[in-house]
């Protein structure tokens, strides 16, 4: 047939068949069939054009052949994908002879609307180019014959390509790995994007190519073509294959929908895909359809990760590794780390709950990956593990080490993938791969949650603007585990509520912490933090330099402890929205709001006092939870700073109220809580001069390092002094029999039967540690700052001084010697610096300027002496 007739016919045939492929896909939704049919169509079209422009015989001419490479070479050609074609010439002369005809052929393909990416090379150029151009070499991994000299193709296909792929294996593998890592970095190393690119994102089609390329380069055969000896491996491969088929269907759908090479699953496309049931053939809710997407993407990413691990240096056989572990590990240890992989001591037995949790705890500590055998042991063990779930606090004690370790997020993701996180905390299941659409979030709710935890752990090494400030704040927390648990649960309500999610999250968190048998204080911190977790973000949208904004926000937060955890939660929450969400502008505003509110809470403490007759909501909660009469509570709380109520649980307040009633018979009542980390002493007594100083001195004399302290007084003159201290020498922690003697000593100091000064003199001379027990080369310098404006009743004195034994006693004794009463004391430590705020009065009024000067001079003389 002459070209004048053959060409219009070829064009018509292409359009007709192209429409048929499209219609077949639209009616069946079968992606695999579509990309194969599309590939066959392009093959046929290319052959027709070859016969028109190059050689009437499709197997000629000698010395020139046309190959399909890349996606076309794999026979996975999506409707609007680029076509990679290689015109292979036996010699430069053959290339020269057919150059114009090849140009005409490719021009015609462009005119048909096909995006052809054509290359012409001689055989020797292919080998040379592959050295400098790894992408070209990689594209040759997937190839098939289209037209031309078949014998030459056979030689190229069976001998030359395998030969230079083998020769270039190492650089090609490195190139594949480098492209993989760069691509995953670009997408934040997570597949859980709200609007994923189904080709490029982790878990996308490109990942499926990576696992096949690595298998071909290392073994000479794509993974999918290898026989599978293990049931688990066969199951994983099947999951992978189903996932790839699903993504191919989605890609065809996206291409036809937008009439271009568009691979992003935007929200509207998700709606349309779910409505058409792409990949499933039946309409389904979009949330469910997206969960299917993430499940398939997870299977594809998992296989790519396993392939990437093969690039690591070869590892000894498992039997050798176990022998090596057994010889190096303590007896009975269920898990060992070997060459970056976590292996089980006995992979053949059913994994125990303790062993499973040890695996994840080690993973969180080391960022190690699971060995394949460990993964297999965990897969399918869910029911068995569920039967061994420990009750209450014991369960929390298994989860806490995971949360607190530096690579917690990675371990949690892994636990989630195996269904173990949902088993431990079923409330988490509702946000599994959950898509919540808004203009800001980039990740699914579960992934966002893991990222918040990751951002907190990365604070220590953060070079982000203001990161150091938040890192210091994080280091100050007594219970970072409660903040981390709050982050894990803060959005769980999104899975159960169409409206505001916070109340649902609070209810679910309450249910979790009750199961973990949390104390009332622990429970309050978690639930209250979650209940206000959006408040700081909301305050940032107001004028943060307006005193009223700060006052209103401080009223919501209530206490510096809550402010600290809220600021950190907000930092992590914003940062986990997407990579650019926490701009330097926002980070600075967040920090400034934090310090403004912190200062407000410290400086306005005695302005807001409790008046029982107004019966605040908090007071009503205390009445409800207390066995003590309301009148007793009223008498006790009258005149206390509101902060006291905010920072104590209802049971603590009622307990203190009851003890205060007993002061008519005893000089002091004490509560001593001993723990390995921080001990706490609460003393209730009638106020007297030097009382706080004497108590601080007595603690110091017993070798206790005071870390924080608070002193509050009510209208009746009853003081509640709370000291939190470390027991460096284990006097109390190791010797329970010392507790009564210690409490007796406190009572004697209060009643002045024993002098704190005398105790101090008898103190061993080697007690030189600071409050925190830390000594640093750089010492904080002394800073005294009086403030007469923040409080209407008192003068505030902020003392920042190098921490030293007995410092608090020295400060407070000096105040007393000048006739100053301490209304409130807030004692804190940061590194080697003592940071203390005192609300002082003299004869019931603020300190005169002259007294301030004398007091400052005396303090300087005492604190600056060598």
């Amino acid at each position: 047939m002459p070209p004048s007739k053959a060409l219009p016919q070829a064009r018509q045939t292409f359009r007709t068949r192209s429409d048929a492929v499209r219609n077949a896909f639209l009616s069946t939704g079968a992606g695999r069939a579509c990309v194969a049919a599309r590939s066959d169509l392009i093959d046929a079209t290319a052959v027709s054009l070859w016969q028109i422009f190059v050689e009437r015989d499709e197997y000629g001419p000698a010395g020139l052949t046309l190959l399909a490479t890349g996606g076309f070479g794999r026979r996975e050609l999506a409707p609007f994908s680029d076509l990679d074609m290689l015109f292979l010439a036996a010699s430069p002369e053959r290339e020269q002879k057919y150059r114009e005809l090849i140009r005409q052929l490719t021009q015609e393909m462009w005119d048909l609307g096909l995006r052809v990416s054509a290359t012409t090379r001689t055989i020797s150029e292919c080998a040379d180019t592959s050295v400098d151009n790894p992408e070209f070499a990689i594209s040759l991994i997937d190839r098939h014959y289209v037209a031309g000299d078949f014998e030459m193709f056979e030689k190229f296909d069976k001998q030359l390509v395998p030969s230079f792929l083998k020769k270039l294996c190492d650089p090609l593998i490195q190139n594949v790995a480098s492209l993989y890592r760069t691509r995953h970095d670009r997408y934040g190393n997570t597949l859980f994007h709200l609007e994923p690119n189904i080709k490029e994102c982790p878990g996308g089609l490109r990942d499926s190519h990576v696992s096949e390329w690595i298998a071909t380069l290392l073994d000479g055969t794509p993974d999918k073509e290898k026989p599978s000896s293990e049931q688990q491996a066969a199951s994983n491969r099947e999951e992978w294959q189903v996932g790839v088929d699903f993504l191919l269907g989605v890609r065809c759908f996206l291409h036809y929908r937008s009439e271009r090479d568009d691979n992003v699953l935007y929200w509207q496309a998700q709606d349309d895909a779910a409505k058409r049931g792409v990949g499933y053939g039946a309409e389904m809710p979009v949330e469910r359809w997206m969960r299917h997407y993430y499940r398939h993407a997870r299977a594809i990413e998992w296989r790519a990760q396993r392939a990437m691990e093969r690039i690591q240096p070869p590892q000894p056989r498992l039997t050798y590794r176990l022998r090596q572990w057994r010889s190096n590990s303590p007896k009975g240890r269920p898990v060992a780390l070997h060459r970056g992989k976590l292996i089980l001591a006995d992979a053949s037995a059913e994994i125990s709950f303790d062993a499973a949790m040890t695996v994840f705890q080690r993973m969180a500590q080391t960022d190690a990956q699971l060995a394949r055998e460990t993964e297999e042991a965990l897969s399918g063990a869910l029911q068995h593990l569920a039967s061994q779930l420990p009750p209450g606090r014991a369960l929390w004690n298994q989860i806490r080490p995971v949360l607190q370790a530096p690579f917690a997020a990675q371990a949690l993701r892994s636990m989630h993938a195996f269904g173990i996180l949902d088993m431990l905390i079923p409330e988490f299941h509702g946000i599994d791969a959950l898509v919540i659409r808004d203009a800001y979030h980039r990740y699914t709710v579960d992934e966002h949650t893991f990222l918040t935890i990751d951002h907190l752990h990365r604070l220590e090494n953060s070079d982000a603007p203001w990161g150091k400030e938040f890192a210091n704040l994080y280091a100050e927390l007594d219970r970072p585990d409660l903040l981390l648990l709050s982050l894990l649960l803060h959005d769980t309500g999104k899975g159960r509520s169409d409206a505001a999610h916070t109340p649902r999250s609070v209810a679910m968190a309450a249910s979790v912490v009750d199961r973990f048998e949390f104390s009332q204080e622990e429970r309050d911190l978690v639930t209250q933090l979650i209940s206000i977790h959006l408040e700081m973000s909301a305050a940032l949208r107001r004028d943060i330099f307006d005193a009223e904004t700060v006052r209103a926000f401080a009223a919501i937060v209530g206490s510096p402890e809550m402010l600290r955890v809220l600021a950190l939660l907000t930092y992590a929450d914003i940062k986990a929205v997407h990579t650019d969400a926490l701009t330097p502008w926002k980070a600075e505003n967040l920090w400034r709001l934090y310090i403004a509110t912190s200062n407000f809470l410290d400086r306005n403490l005695d302005e807001v006092r409790v008046h029982a007759d107004t019966a605040s909501t908090r007071l009503k909660e205390i009445y409800a939870a207390s066995a003590v009469e309301n009148a007793t509570i009223d008498r006790f709380v009258e005149g206390l700073p509101e902060r006291y109520l905010r920072t104590r649980s209802a049971s603590q307040v009622s307990g203190h109220a009851r003890l205060a009633e007993e002061l008519s018979k005893h000089p002091a009542r004490t509560i001593l809580d001993i723990s390995d980390d921080i001990c706490q002493l609460t003393v209730l007594a009638h106020d007297r001069p030097f009382l706080f100083a004497d108590l601080a001195g007595a603690l110091s004399a017993w070798g206790m390092d005071i870390v924080t302290a608070e002193a509050f007084a009510n209208l009746q003159g009853v003081v509640i002094d709370t000291f939190r201290f470390t027991d460096r020498y284990g006097t109390l922690t190791l010797n329970p029999e010392e507790h009564p003697r210690f409490k007796q000593m406190v009572g004697d100091v209060v009643s002045r039967k024993t002098s704190a000064e005398a105790l101090m003199k008898g103190r061993p001379s080697n007690l030189k540690a600071t409050r925190s027990g830390v000594r640093r080369k750089v010492r904080a310098s002394l800073d005294l700052r009086f403030d007469d404006t923040s409080s209407s009743h008192s003068t505030l004195l902020q003392v920042i001084a190098p921490d030293s034994p007995g410092l608090l006693h020295l400060l407070t004794r000096t105040f007393a010697e000048h006739g100053c009463d301490i209304g409130v004391a807030l004692i804190d430590t940061e590194g080697d610096a003592a940071i203390d705020v005192f609300y002082l009065t003299h004869a019931g009024a603020k300190l005169e300027a002259e007294l301030q000067a004398t007091l400052a001079a005396d303090l300087r003389r005492l604190l600056e002496k060598p």
Binding site: R541, S598, I800, A833, I835
Partner: protein, 112 residues
């Protein structure tokens, strides 16, 4: 066509956006900014460290509008952003010669 550049308090952004949308203007660009005019910064102390605030956080909002709706847009911003205090911000207006919609090459007010 005119370009309106408004420097406003961050806390007024939502109100200004709403007012502009009600005025029929739904395209705008928002930039996080810092600066000060007559409203000067201040210093805050935290744990012995001094944090000076020389430049205060602001939002810069840019809108290009047809000449006919300029007054309406400016009025919407003025009303929504005003608190009467120092620091409410400024509005700058300048001429725009051409606007082009990249997607389809539409030009002039139709491209807004």
């Amino acid at each position: 066509m005119q370009k309106i550049e408004a420097i406003i308090q961050p806390g007024k952004l939502e109100a200004v956006k709403t007012a502009l949308i009600e005025a029929g203007i739904d395209g705008m660009t928002i930039l996080e900014a810092r600066g000060h005019g007559r409203q000067k910064g201040h210093t805050e102390f935290y744990r012995g460290r001094e944090y000076s605030v020389d430049l205060l956080p602001k939002i810069k909002l840019e809108v290009v509008v047809d000449d006919e709706v300029l007054d309406k847009a400016v009025e919407a911003i003025l009303t929504a952003a005003r608190s009467g205090k120092i620091g409410d911000g400024k509005i700058f207006i300048s001429r725009i010669d051409e606007a082009i919609r990249i997607r389809n090459d539409e030009r002039g007010p139709r491209a807004l």
